[in-house]
Amino acid sequence: MKILVCISNVPDTTTKITFNSNNTEFNQSGVQFILNPYDELALSRAIELTEGGNGSVTVINVGMADTEPTIRKALAIGADDAIRVNATPMNSFFVASQIAAIAKEGQYDLILTGRESIDYNGAQTGAMLAEMLDMPSISIIKKLEVSGNTATVAREIEGGKEMITVDFPFLATVAEGVAEPKIPNMRGIMSARTKPLQVVEPIAVASLSNITSFEMPAARSAVKLIATDNVSALIDALHSEAKVI
């Protein structure tokens, strides 16, 4: 089984977000970047599925050279090789187009992405890529089991789940539940330095959208504290003042 996992380099979850240049640009100064947590789950499941010589896992990232520590982390976790498309990821359509150009040649049985990246949260790249490859896609899965040439997948739906079967090849976007994140061991970290990382130049892609500015959420007014001997006052306030119950 040949698996491609699309990975993204994102600010650590604890990052306090600020912007530069009149709120048009994310301020990266002092920000620690990590492997997107959903992509980490996708990668972890891919490694489990190929354990014992049962296939290979390639990771692909669209990013400049500064994303290489994250790519090496993915190799340390257990990916066999990596591809970096040498471009700034402009938006999801751009990223999906770059990956499609490479995946077309790769004959992958399974393509996995995280359900979204935790920076721009586009939640678009996976299903766009599948459409470009004319491949079935299942978005936001929480379980992935394989038997022969067929996979059984649980897709999250409002208030429950849908159990779906699909033959390879297909693409799925991954949410929590698919796997526990794998932690690289010392051997993985050592071998990651020498695993193949191929750098590919991007193809030209038309720009369809761009972010013009960012905003921060409005500050809330100070909390109204209610005493523990007067708890029913909270319910009264929610009913008569805030009018939410």
């Binding site: 977000i17 947590p37 539940g177 909390v223 009264d236």
Partner: protein
Amino acid sequence: MNVLVYLENIEGKFKKSTYEVVSYAAAIAKQTGGTLTAVSIGNVAESTLAEIGKYGATKILNIQQDTLNSFVNQAYASLIAKAANSVNATVVVLSNTFTGKGLAPRVAVKLNASLVDGALELPTFDGANMTVKRGAFSGKAFANVNLTSAIKVITLSPNAYQINDLGTSASIEAFSETANANDFKTIVKEIIRASDKISLPDAELVVSGGRGLKGPENWGMIEELASLLGAATGCSKPVSDSGWRPHEEHVGQTGIAVAPNLYIAIGISGAIQHLAGVSSSKVIVVINKDPEAPFFKVADYGIVGDAFEVVPQLIEAVKALKAQA
């Protein structure tokens, strides 16, 4: 601009998010002097479809085929794109539900369209270009996205737009286009839905518990309070990571982002990753015994106290309120 809206149904019924997206799409059609067409796929009764007319759709394309009774992402996306082309739609709107998130990117690629996921407000226009506000950095900020392609696809966040009954009506037409045989490779074997639970992502009220509750055996009072209020239950990441609650209840940056009218956080200290997932809530209530808990800084109402003493009293107060009503 002509607008097409996709009507997502669950077992033949429309949910609140579907009415919201129709009202939103109708407002865009009105903003731009176009008409609104709706498209429904699957087994929905005509009387249910006719209801959609009240919210501003002038025409409803009804696609009922035996092969489309359960959801097939690729086939549904093909048909939505075909419907968009048939009415020369330049804006296509879907709900930002789990299903909508799977469909919209495929529809956008088919139409050479740009896509904005999780719109929070009506777009603004500059000629044929459109700017839409959406969340970014998992709720820590917002981004204004400018869409410059000829066709634009938007998914609307649940609870972001008011349903408006305009008292209008729509004609219903059978739409006879079919998807390709190649589009039916995913097969739904089973749908498992907890019928007694309120779905978290689009809930209007959420009661959420954290590590302060000390163990899964103490969730009875959380569920009782939620059930009395008609609220969904949520939890913090440590709680779902410890297996006290299922992953689908995890609210936060790497779980579910919610935007309810009321979010009640009980025994959750308020890590930045959790706060990101609740920042769009209209009213936040925090109950925590630690007065220094960061969650109080973003709360509208707070009680500094022990959950095991406060929550039973809240339950009694809600019962008393309901008895008055």
